[in-house]
């Protein structure tokens, strides 16, 4: 088994990324779990936070906690500026044309629901179709199902292959004059498949169909440029890209956002209110009723600063090498089957082990301090399609190491040992 512990030599030249230095930025990575150093391989569920993000949260509450967009006093102005600066950072990070195209939400789920409840209710009628794919997370299925039920529309699904890639021929045939929206994920959270979104957006646009991309799993691993992709909406979460929970983003093209009715009613989203008539605020406030997650937004801005300050190209290369190494190492374990063999993958390695349920794998790995996710990963249709109840999923971030992959491999051998007795 000792040969399992050494990375293949072909990978050596690419190990230039200073992962040990980066790890020091993330305090939680130094903790112990069940008397073992934490091996955190559940990044697709949520990523860990660098000290600068943690500081941004506490600085806000210690130094300038205040509500935004309303006070004339110093603190309110300072908080407003910091929150709005985070919007501009987000705009620049994803290459949006204007800051008002960035709507802050609680996360990806709320961003998708926002589009379903506003754009959807206005644009989708009886007999219309919403097109999703077989690789969606529940959060990009259920809001559309609810909309379809409400409007008498139907949900169509682009099928996938056994390897976990979308069937693009079937996709072309599913686009038709009744299709009102294509809502699809950029990267599969369960299998790691990177979908050819740019080509699919172009194809949808040729038929005049707007496109929403669920970018929750893509944005921590890929450089996303919404102008280059050409999408109409792009939804993602702060907490999966090293920011806090409870803050996320809906990017929308201005022309579309302007034509959409508001999402929720309340303070901050109005221009004027009387009992006879209310006029709504301009973008982005129209979609941001009530006091938002101010500290979360500001700390999300700090996460973007952190990502901007690092050499993202070498971070991405490091992640690719990790995934490649982990794939090779796990594939060599007898009785282990990797689930999801798409040609293009990022961040995620799903697997099953002969005669051992993923839940038992998770418990045994946890006893060694290794955190992975087990279950259906909020993507039950994928599990049904592949005929498996669940998988074990290791998911990576740039702060993971080759040694941690080796510990995962060692942990899986421990599982086999426990169950092989």
């Amino acid at each position: 088994m000792s040969s399992q512990r050494q990375p293949a030599s072909i990978l050596e030249p690419r190990r230039t990324f200073d992962v040990e230095r980066v790890r020091k930025d993330f305090p939680v990575l130094g903790t112990f779990v069940n008397k073992h150093p934490l091996v955190y391989l559940d990044n697709a569920a949520t990523s860990q936070k660098p000290q600068s993000v943690i500081n941004a949260l506490s600085d806000f509450y210690e130094e300038y906690n205040s509500n935004i967009h309303r006070g004339v006093h110093y603190l309110s102005q300072k908080a407003t500026d910091a929150y709005e600066l985070a919007r501009i950072k987000t705009q620049e990070y994803i290459g949006a044309e204007r800051p008002e195209e960035i709507i802050f939400t609680r996360g990806t789920t709320e961003a998708v629901n926002l589009v379903a409840q506003t754009f959807g209710k206005k644009q989708v009628g009886k007999g219309d179709e919403i097109l999703v794919t077989a690789l969606e997370h529940h959060s990009n299925i259920v809001p559309w199902q609810m909309l379809c039920e409400d409007r008498g529309a139907s949900l169509k699904v682009v099928p996938m292959t056994d390897d976990g890639e979308l069937d693009l021929d079937a996709f072309e045939h599913l686009l038709n004059p009744k299709t009102r929206l294509l809502a699809m994920t950029h990267v599969s959270n369960a299998l790691g498949t990177v979908n050819p979104v740019k080509a699919m957006i172009a194809a949808a646009h040729q038929s005049g169909i707007p496109v929403l991309i669920d970018g929750a799993q893509a944005i921590p691993h890929l450089d996303v440029n919404v102008k280059d992709l050409g999408c109409d909406f792009y939804a993602f979460s702060g907490h999966k890209m090293f920011g806090p929970t409870g803050i996320g983003v809906l990017y929308g093209r201005k022309q579309l956002l302007e034509r959409m009715p508001p999402y929720q009613g309340g303070g901050d989203m109005i221009k004027s209110v009387s009992f006879e008539k209310t006029t709504y605020a301009e973008l982005p406030n129209k979609f941001e009723a009530g006091t938002p997650n101010i500290s979360g937004g500001i700390a999300f801005g700090a996460a973007i600063d952190y990502l901007n300050a690092m050499d993202r190209n070498s971070a991405h290369e490091h992640e690719s090498s990790l995934l490649e190494y982990a794939t090779t190492q796990l594939a060599s374990i007898r009785g282990l089957q990797i689930i999801g063999k798409a040609r293009e993958k990022v961040g995620v390695l799903s697997f099953v082990l002969e005669n051992v349920h993923p839940h038992d794998i998770g418990t045994i790995l946890d006893s060694e301090g290794i955190a992975i996710r087990t279950g259906h990963h909020c993507a039950q249709p994928i599990m049904t399609r592949l005929g498996i109840p669940a998988t074990a999923r290791a998911s990576f971030a740039f702060y993971n190491t080759f040694e941690e992959v080796d510990m995962l491999v060692g942990g899986i051998y421990r599982v086999i040992e426990v169950f092989g007795r």
Binding site: H357, P358, S367, R421
Partner: protein
């Protein structure tokens, strides 16, 4: 590692590998589904109840070692029990896996089921151990909808 061995005891691994009464029962008087949406444990539990007595229990489905072994051992132990005996055993088993009961003080009532004592050290796994039991218990109380421990 000791806690792990306490969880995955020989008898549990054995029942996981070769579950007892693992079959469809054509003449069941009651058929209920046990489902944990979080981990995907999914079983159908069949019962033949004759008046006050559980004559037979069998099950089918898939799930983790803890849930499968628990369903298997439950199916074996329930045979011939009266409803009030089931009630007592359900209470004891529930307290055992939640750590409210010491196995060595209750061996005479629990028998081989004491193997599940180790579950109490793994709070995330209690629902796996109790899934089939909850389902059977609810079915005997006349509730027939799908039972979930989430």
């Amino acid at each position: 590692m000791n806690e792990l061995r306490a969880l995955y005891q020989e008898v549990i691994l054995d029942h996981n590998k070769s579950p007892r009464n693992f079959r469809v029962m054509d003449d069941a008087t009651s058929v209920v589904e046990a489902y944990n949406p979080l981990c995907g444990d999914h079983y159908t539990i069949y019962m033949k109840v004759d008046g006050d007595v559980v004559r037979e229990v069998s099950f089918q489905g898939s799930g983790c070692a803890i849930s499968k072994a628990s369903a298997s051992m439950m199916s074996a132990v329930m045979k011939g029990k009266t409803k009030s005996e089931v009630e007592t055993l359900f209470g004891l088993f529930h307290r055992l896996v939640t750590g409210e009961l010491h196995a060595n003080e209750n061996v005479e009532h629990l028998g081989k089921l004491v193997a599940f004592e180790g579950v109490s050290e793994f709070p995330a796994r209690v629902k796996c151990a109790i899934l089939a039991w909850h389902t059977l218990h609810s079915a005997l109380e006349g509730k027939t909808e799908k039972i979930s421990t989430e």
